[in-house]
């Protein structure tokens, strides 16, 4: 299968600011466009189950992941499309996966929440990915690589006890992990004040993990903010936790949004896309939009032509991997 786009090396944006803005915009545009397209496909009945879009939070992926190097690891959660696209730049593989095709990222087995591609992983159980990520970071470190592991988690996931077990071990054992918390103020239908007592930054600090927060949906600002943090984790080999105060502009998963309309409307001003678009000249923006539109369209057209998953020997992984 032809590769539609070269993902390129990391540190893509150590360039002129104008260029940086363009590239971040292109990336976010790709994520947004991809998810909007996916939701349309959903409405047409082509996607089964559910899917969690990250509309409104695209700047997090763009701000963090562009600092990663080859060999770095990302572990994401249920809301993983943005992270994956920023990491891989492979919309067609994700489209095929979510559409249940044999040539999808994991052959249609995982769908929207359970994907794996090179050093990118995601899983749909809240919290459990955090210790796994810590283990990955420690393994890399113990074998002398200087890679770091970034794990994304939401505010609601601070309810799961296993993340504190992971914080404790990450700190005790100095795991080079960047915990990126996307506090979008809601966990499914539950506002953060109903699920979270106290403070997430303080929680991390109480495990002797350096931590901070930033309130921003500005990809350039986030990009600048995370640059030293990624460096620090890599150089110190210690964990860091950073909370991004943001907002989800779409439903939690396919069409289940019961949040106060007013609240959502008021936050539209923070949409990360117009924020960057304003900084581009109109022609550049238009050309990016056109290009992205075409890429996403191609990705979905390709995906829709792929064979459905199935009719394979269902190999018991136990038998397959026995000695």
């Amino acid at each position: 299968m032809e590769r539609l786009h070269d993902p390129g090396p990391a540190r893509r944006f150590a360039e002129a600011p104008g260029l940086r803005c363009e590239k971040l915009y292109r990336q976010m545009r790709l994520i947004r466009r991809f998810e909007e397209r996916l939701l349309r496909q959903f409405e047409e009945g082509d996607v089964s189950g559910t899917t969690h879009a990250c509309i409104g939070q695209e700047a997090d992926a763009a701000g963090v992941i562009n600092h990663l190097q080859k060999g770095d690891i990302v572990f994401s959660n249920h809301r993983c499309h943005g992270h994956f696209l920023a990491f891989s730049d492979r919309p067609e593989l994700l489209a095929a996966e979510v559409l249940g095709r044999a040539t999808g990222l994991v052959g249609g087995r995982g769908g929207s929440q359970h994907i794996c591609w090179e050093n990118f992983y995601s899983n749909g159980i809240q919290g459990g990915i955090v210790p796994v990520s810590v283990g990955m970071a420690l393994a890399e470190k113990s074998t002398g690589r200087d890679s770091i592991t970034t794990v994304f988690l939401g505010d609601g996931t601070f309810g799961e006890g296993v993340i504190y077990e992971a914080f404790n071990m990450a700190s005790l054992w100095s795991a080079p992990v960047l915990f990126v918390v996307e506090n979008n103020q809601w966990a499914q239908s539950t506002p953060v004040e109903k699920e979270l007592a106290g403070d997430m930054v303080a929680r991390a600090q109480s495990f002797d993990i350096e931590a901070g927060s930033i309130t921003s949906t500005d990809a350039e600002e986030l990009y600048d903010h995370f640059q030293p943090l990624v460096h620090k984790v890599r150089n110190t080999g210690r964990p860091h936790l950073e909370v991004i105060e943001t907002y989800r502009l779409c439903h939690h998963s396919k069409s289940d949004d019961k949040r106060p309309r007013q609240q959502v409307e008021a936050r539209k001003k923070d949409d990360p896309l117009p924020k960057l678009r304003k900084r581009l000249d109109e022609d550049a923006a238009k050309s990016i939009e056109k290009e992205v539109k075409k890429r996403v369209e191609q990705a979905f057209l390709w995906a829709l032509e792929q064979p459905f998953a199935g009719d394979e020997e269902l190999v018991d992984p136990l038998v397959d991997a026995s000695p």
Binding site: S48, R109, G111, S112, H114, G159, E160, T190, D311, D316
Partner: protein, 348 residues
């Protein structure tokens, strides 16, 4: 319009909360207007705001909290949003709630009900589609009940919450919520006669033309009951094979009576479950039946179950690996045709 499984459960919760101050519900995202991922708890928080505890994402923690409440006189009904997340509460269920009564010399009760929607066929993928109740069978002190649309599911929930002093897993099925309750009318349901053993968590036995002349017993629970009924119909139409369908609701402790009696009539047993076969419900039924009615068996008991792999997200693949009507029909035929048919499932 017939009542759905969802409505029946929701109504039962409303009624119990109105009747009994001790009843409370607890779980993730159960407040109105959202009202719970599958809407079983809809409306409760509006009417009884103080007794609806929407929780952080802390399955172990809130099952523990609810156990504590139950030990101090309340009647908590906990919802695990997806049954897949039950494993996070496994220690709380097995080493705490289920043990307390016996371990503490019968000094305490833990009247805790944990509701868990299980099952696939909705394209939710590997972590949101499992039928994990088999891993909670055989836990001393933990009762397991699984509903299906042929029983009054609301009444079962009432019994579990108000009358049962045991910690109890109440297994629902995602696909089943939208199904209409199919209460037998004058002992009949469609062309089948329906018998109940009258237990608090009843077992229904269904047969075409009464309890004589049956060729094979098909045991199914939960979401597989209606699949089994469809298979029974096809077996009759296509092969003139008379199947008795036995549908228990209490999985643990197992009530073997109606199953034993049916196999004593038919001589053949096929057990269906949506999970993979190994060490599950079907295994227990086959083993227990061997102990209770070995002499009646004219053919090897067979299991119809999922392939031993995770549940895939793609519907095409999910359908391929979950057991369906075809599988039951095919396996039942082998029980009749030969005394030793091929097996569908391997272990996992």
């Amino acid at each position: 319009m017939a009542t759905t499984v969802l409505k029946s459960l929701n109504t039962a919760l409303h009624e119990m909360m109105a009747e009994d101050e001790r009843v409370l519900v607890m779980g993730e995202d159960i407040l109105d207007p959202y009202g719970g991922a599958f809407k079983v708890t809809r409306g409760l928080s509006t009417e009884y705001p103080k007794r609806v505890w929407t929780t952080p994402i802390s399955e172990a923690g809130f099952v523990g909290v609810a156990s504590g409440m139950a030990m101090r006189g309340l009647r908590p009904v906990v919802e695990i949003m997806f049954g897949d997340f039950l494993l996070l509460a496994a220690d709380q269920l097995v080493n705490h709630a289920a043990k307390f009564r016996w371990m503490y010399g019968d000094k305490v009760d833990v009247p805790l009900v944990v509701r868990a929607p299980m099952g696939g066929r909705r394209g939710y993928g590997p972590t949101h589609s499992q039928s994990l109740e088999k891993h909670f069978l055989g836990v001393p002190g933990l009762a397991v009940v699984a509903i299906h649309p042929l029983v009054d599911v609301g009444k079962l929930l009432r019994t579990a919450v108000l009358d049962d002093r045991r910690p109890l897993l109440f297994i629902e099925n995602k696909k089943m919520y939208a199904r209409s309750l199919r209460q037998p009318l004058n002992g009949r349901m469609g062309a089948m006669e329906v018998y109940s053993d009258g237990a608090v968590y009843p077992t229904a036995t269904l047969a075409f033309g009464g309890l004589v002349g049956g060729d094979v017993t098909i045991v199914a629970y939960g979401g597989m009951v209606e699949v089994a009924l469809e298979a029974a119909e096809r077996l009759l139409i296509e092969d003139e094979i008379y199947a008795e369908v036995v549908a228990p609701t209490q999985l643990q402790p197992l009530q073997m009576g109606p199953i034993t009696q049916s196999v004593e009539r038919t001589g053949r047993l096929v057990v269906c479950e949506e999970a993979s076969a190994s060490a599950g419900f079907g295994a227990e039924i086959c083993a227990a039946l061997g102990e209770s009615a070995f002499n009646a068996l004219e053919a090897a008991p067979a299991r119809v179950a999922a392939q031993p792999v995770p549940i895939a997200n793609a519907p095409s693949l999910e359908n391929q690996l979950l057991p369906d009507v075809d599988d039951i029909v095919e396996v039942a035929r082998t029980r009749i045709g030969s005394i030793k048919g091929p097996r569908r499932t391997s272990f996992g």
